[in-house]
């Protein structure tokens, strides 16, 4: 295995490659049913969404409460294009990406110069308006009647004289989701290490200093928001072609909150942390769904637990379970220093 240079990679990477290998062979392990694959696909989908949302609070320090609006726009765009025009999934992905980005720019440009709280509220209002629009404009979206019978994803090589292969069952979607997650992670990594990413972190750390280095605050923030929205839309497109049924009440505020929980739990700004946050919360959600009736507890305990987790995380570990240095420092910086500063002279450990 010398080609992969396994010996040379840092420890963290080896673990990740191991997990990826596990994920690839998962469907062939014994006892793995379609149900487990269904949950796994859900996890992967939320990973994409969480990675997308991560850009705004994680890299830019702004609270986006309206993320589900982009998710819904992406899903309905994909669903409607498929329903009416039968477009191929592979054409829809870039379209959804662009559509999401456009909406991100439309919403972000006027609002990103606001302070954090106002921005949060405006995004919240936006997502509620999106849901209202989806519900009421029946002529366009069929509203509460829902959009059933969306085609499944297919690889259509008939133009080249090849076969047409439709995605039946969970297995093909599972691998598709893995590919999409890998692409998203790759893109996120590249952005993080690029000028764009560094500009974002600079803005997050200190806006005034960033401006004085020549960074155009608004432009960078809008780009961040647009990319975040684009990934949300892509996630939505996958969702539409996977469940093949859409209805407006799938896109309520609760989804935004859930995805926010994932990045808060995992570690804002940390790509792997966010993915683990998604994994933990979706699995926890399903596990609780099974256990709670057995323990005789009502299902609301699941939601209550999430609220409580958020409060506790903010209190004790606001940067998440796997924080990145920049965010951790920032979260700590504001805290009242209760310890007396020891008068040390000279010798550092």
């Amino acid at each position: 295995m010398g080609k992969l240079g396994l010996k040379a990679r840092p420890r963290g990477d080896k673990i990740r490659i191991g997990l990826l290998a596990l994920a690839l062979i998962l469907p062939f392990l014994p006892f793995i049913t379609d149900y487990v694959l269904h949950i796994a696909i859900l996890v992967l989908l939320y990973m994409i969404l969480a990675l997308g949302l991560n850009i705004v609070p994680g890299f830019n320090g702004l609270l986006d409460l309206g993320y589900v609006g982009f998710y819904g726009i992406g899903a309905y765009t994909s669903g409607l294009l498929t329903y009416h025009f039968g477009l191929s999934f592979w054409v829809i992905i870039p379209l959804a990406f662009i559509n999401g980005a456009i909406w991100g720019i439309l919403l972000g440009a006027p609002t990103l110069r606001l302070t954090g709280d106002y921005f949060a509220i405006v995004t919240f209002g936006f997502s509620e308006l999106v849901v209202l629009f989806l519900t009421n404009e029946i002529w366009l979206t069929r509203g509460p009647l829902g959009l059933p019978g969306i085609d499944v994803v297919s690889i259509d090589l008939t133009l080249f004289g090849g076969p047409k292969w439709e995605f039946i069952g969970e297995l093909p979607y599972y691998y598709l989701a893995i590919v999409m997650v890998l692409v998203t992670v790759f893109v996120m990594h590249r952005i993080q290490d690029s000028r764009l990413g560094r500009a974002w972190f600079a803005i997050r750390d200190d806006e005034v200093a960033a401006v004085s280095c020549g960074i155009n605050l608004l432009a960078y923030k809008v780009i961040a928001f647009a990319i975040s929205a684009a990934f949300g839309a892509v996630g939505g497109s996958f969702f539409a072609r996977w469940v093949t049924f859409l209805s407006p009440d799938m896109f309520k505020f609760w989804e935004s909150f859930l995805i926010l929980c994932m990045i808060v739990l995992g570690g804002m700004g940390n790509i792997w942390g966010v993915m683990i946050g998604a994994l933990v919360l979706v699995s926890l959600s399903e596990v609780l769904r099974e256990i709670l009736p057995l323990l005789g507890l009502p299902v609301e305990v699941r939601f209550l637990a999430f609220g409580l987790i958020m409060v506790l995380m903010m209190r004790y570990r606001p940067a998440g379970m796997m924080p990145i240095a920049a965010v951790a420092a920032q979260m700590r910086a504001g805290r009242v220093k209760r310890k007396k500063v020891k008068a040390t002279v000279g010798i550092k450990k």
Partner: protein
């Protein structure tokens, strides 16, 4: 290191998840039937009705020795009446090969979300309460229901209840913005046109609205003689109360969504003089139906409702079919499809049930009204 702790935690959660995924393929000694409905959340009351009806029939079957010697077991799937959760519940049922049929779902939107999964897995589903007319198309032969569709209810209200029973001609519609009510409103308006009933206005509202005074004020301006409460009972009760406060004295009417004790509880005095169509009415039922109503009251201490009755019959139909063809998904579907005429129909507490090619059935509707604080049969 922090990472170690996280990995341990993640490993634990993953492990638990896998265990739960694995154990859903439990013992196949019993005949397992899935039941999908909202058992928690704000429509939990409906789910309770389904549970009550099916449990009553289950006890009956198992006390008599089961089906061909095998006991029956019900597996509950809580779909919260949400399409996303319905998909998860559906895929769980479909993946569990020991589940041979599904009774559900309750809400039409949940059924619509789950049906593609059942079709793909070849799992027959029979719903006691989903009334959306389009489900039959999505079901592709794997879906059956023993309740009437919204098409039928709407037309019945327009052509019989309003002009003949109530003797009114000018109606204002207040409809909820969801799949159930929109379908109902559309079929009502179509029926109203041919029955010569005049619809003076139609206002929509979102689920969860509590203040209807602006819309009511607008509707009442045209002086309707009756108001159609086209939606579910929580909002219906509020509309009744606020409408009366604004001075409306005519009759109110609705469909099966209004049929619930809570309507009277929340509406109070304003609920008087409300009519609603229901698929099952104990007072007008056959002797078998009346006996069932008594049994239900004894077991649960409350009056039987149409959902419980339909759910009871659903399990009865499945039991009869399984008894004939055995516990095999495809055979059960074929057995259900064979119930397609009056001769082969199932005689249950809700009357005679048989399915057409889309899995729909035609059942008569009955009319209830609220009088002196209780639901009684309307004459």
């Amino acid at each position: 290191m922090r990472n170690k702790r996280t990995f341990l935690f993640v490993g634990l959660v993953l492990g638990l998840a896998l265990i739960f995924g694995m154990t859903t393929g439990a013992m196949a000694a019993n005949i397992r039937i899935g039941v999908a409905a909202p058992f928690t959340g704000n429509l939990a009351a409906y789910g309770d009705n389904i549970k009550a009806g099916t449990s009553l029939k289950l006890k009956e079957i198992n006390d008599a020795g089961g089906i061909n010697g095998q006991k029956v077991e019900l597996v509950w799937g809580d779909d919260l009446c949400q399409p996303k959760d319905a998909g998860t519940v559906g895929s769980k049922f479909a993946a569990d090969k020991s589940i041979v049929a599904v009774i559900g779902h309750l809400c039409s939107s949940a059924t619509l979300a789950a049906m593609p999964i059942y079709v793909r897995a070849g799992l027959p589903a029979i719903s006691p309460t989903s009334t959306n007319p389009t489900i039959g198309d999505v079901g592709k032969g794997w879906f059956f229901r023993n309740c009437y569709t919204d098409d039928f209810q709407g037309k019945y209200l327009a052509s019989y209840v309003v002009p003949k029973l109530l003797g009114k001609n000018k109606v204002a519609i207040f409809y909820e913005n969801n799949d159930y009510a929109i379908g109902l409103k559309d079929s009502f308006m179509a029926g109203a046109r041919s029955a010569g009933v005049n619809v003076t206005g139609a206002e929509a509202y979102m689920t969860g609205t509590t203040d209807f005074t602006p819309q009511l004020t607008k509707l009442l301006r045209d002086k309707p003689e009756a108001i159609f409460l086209c939606g579910y009972h929580p909002e219906g009760a509020l509309i009744a109360g606020q409408g009366r406060k604004l001075g409306f004295t005519g009759p109110l009417f609705g469909a099966d969504g209004i049929d619930n004790e809570d309507y009277i509880k929340i509406g109070g005095k304003a609920a008087e003089n409300t009519y609603c169509t229901v698929p099952f009415l104990a007072a007008s039922a056959s002797p078998a139906g009346k006996a069932f109503a008594k049994q239900y009251k004894k077991a649960y201490g409350r009056d039987v409702d149409w959902m419980s009755a339909n759910a009871y019959d659903c399990l009865g139909i499945l039991a009869q079919v399984i008894g004939k063809v055995g516990a095999d998904r495809k055979k059960i579907r074929d057995g259900l499809a064979a119930i397609n005429s009056e001769a082969t129909g199932y005689k249950g507490v809700t009357g005679l049930t048989f399915f057409d090619k889309k899995g729909d059935c035609s059942k008569p509707a009955f009319v209830k009204m609220v009088k002196d604080g209780k639901f009684v049969a309307a004459k």
